[in-house]
Symmetry: C2
Subunit: 327 residues, 2 copies
């Protein structure tokens, strides 16, 4: 089942509904669920309950793409971004002059918490953030959590995943590089926008897409201005999403409404090419560029980079230096 | 005004009320606000409205410390931890064999997003997390955001801060070190517990505690098992909290209910001593240790390290290695 959050074009920006996606290709339509239906509750419902709700929705009139705005399918209560693609880490490390991933990468899946308020809709424009000359995309696959888990075993981890979607973790590489000199974060290098969508696909739709180890194995591609610039498969993740949930939940809560993402796949960002090639080729994103990320069965998110209409204040001053005195 | 979240000892764990803290020292009592009062709304209210609510609360019976459990004063919608104390960064960098903070530290305040679901009450026990032999504390001061801001100027940043509290960013240094080899996060090294409290002190109570540049200047101390092991002043932060809000909100949302923390002050962690001295002295925290963090005017949080009662599953397997194939 494919589940979307949307508002009608005639509604004000705060409106939000959940609907069933029907049909593939340009003729897809959305059939609204009962008013007040919450996405995370729908994902957590048992299959029969969800199917009954979908049957009712399908009998309502559908709304075509031109009459609605797709919203981020979930409003994340937290976002975790992992680093699970070995080839991406390899490329980035070479860009920093290192021979490849450090041994620690292989031992356990690392992640960072991301800005939860930066989630944007699947076709939203992305405003060029301030202070960057190196805007980049990141092609990722993400899982949406539908129930609270702590110390989850494999079965509980699987049951906690309500569905999957495409994610673009937009990154300002020059800001990110400065922040990573402090070996934490990054923060402002990534907090301006994270695209998720176009909708959430429930796990039962993907049962035929798992490899022998149970890893989801879906083709992933990215195109800039219609030209394919990268592709990989989700089966190249070092850990399955069930592993990621189990790891994150060890002695800690993973809560319903969280988004857990794979990290960038191989060739799923420009920075990886910059690292491998030593030059900014392909060039950083510019105003007017259109970036399309597609994952088999999950769909496509497509965003244009636009000039920012915001009045962003100047940076804060550098650190006030203080000799430390004993207190 | 000092505002606490609590439940009565006779109430089940899910109960939560907001109350006014009256009296200093061991005789402090909490006078409940109207049922349903939300902490963040109370912080966002104008001074006269809050004072009227407090007058009404003060006429109700107070509840003594032995009859209640203090809760995290806010349930964070996001937590950001900055790195604003130069001397702490200096000590940690020396521990990694570097001569001092990198130039990037001075240029802009970096931060990481932290586990928002890990906030624990001011006197809660802290369960020893799995897989660590280097448990540590971090003495920090935190601001609680009471209204949404984006591209905040200095005045808007100040108005967005609803109050301040003490924070202990508990850290498993061995796990954290491994994670930081990937230059992001850390995540599992810090996601098991973050103590905030004992309550929130509104900014008007601290007007007399600002230095000539407007920085809050409060004494901060940490004691382990009753022995003082570190102290500093919040005036040694490289940026004021207003700067931190302004920085975080540039082209991004900072939302009501967020917690923004200073990062560790100088001598506010054991790891800084380990870095400076080259030996694990004072030793990592052990079960039975009691850690007390105190900040002038804000109060004290006090936590005992206890054996975990959780059944934590084994770590997930190491990365599955996959030669990348073109898809």
């Amino acid at each position: 089942m494919r589940l979307a959050a949307f508002r009608r074009r005639t509604e004000p920006p705060g409106a939000r509904h959940v609907g069933l996606v029907v049909d593939d290709g340009p003729t897809w339509r959305i059939h609204p669920f009962e008013p007040g239906t919450e996405m995370v509750s729908l994902l957590a419902a048992d299959g029969a309950t969800r199917a009954a709700a979908a049957d009712t929705a399908a009998r309502r009139d559908g709304i075509g793409a031109r009459d609605l705005v797709l919203l981020p399918p979930v409003r994340p209560v937290a976002m975790r971004d992992f680093l699970t693609f070995e080839a991406h880490v390899d490329g980035m490390e070479r860009g920093h002059g290192n021979p490849g991933p450090p041994q620690e990468w292989y031992e356990a899946p690392v992640f960072l918490f991301m800005a939860p308020h930066a989630a944007t809709g699947p076709y939203d424009d992305i405003a060029m953030p301030p202070d960057t000359a190196r805007l980049d995309f990141e092609l990722e696959i993400a899982a949406v959590i539908c129930r609270d888990v702590r110390n989850a075993d494999a079965e509980q981890a699987r049951a906690a995943i309500g569905g999957y979607c495409v994610m673009n973790d937009w990154s300002a590489r020059d800001i990110q590089s400065r922040e990573m000199k402090l070996k934490l974060g990054p923060s402002k290098g990534k907090d301006f926008a994270t695209t998720i969508g176009p909708w959430i696909v429930t796990p039962d739709e993907l049962d035929g897409c798992r490899d022998a180890d149970g890893f989801l194995d879906l083709g992933m591609t990215v195109a800039v201005n219609g030209v394919r610039v990268g592709s990989d498969r989700s089966g190249h993740m070092g850990w399955s999403f069930e592993h990621l949930v189990a790891h994150a939940s060890r002695a800690s809560w993973v809560k319903a409404g969280e988004v857990l993402a794979s990290g960038t796949c191989a060739s799923g960002s420009l920075a990886e090419s910059w690292g491998r090639n030593g030059v900014l080729e392909p060039p950083p994103l510019r105003v007017g560029d259109v970036v399309e990320l597609s994952i088999d069965r999950l769909g496509t998110v497509r965003n244009e980079i636009v000039q920012s209409a915001e009045d962003v204040p100047p940076p804060v001053p550098p650190a006030r230096r203080r000799a430390r005195q004993e207190s």
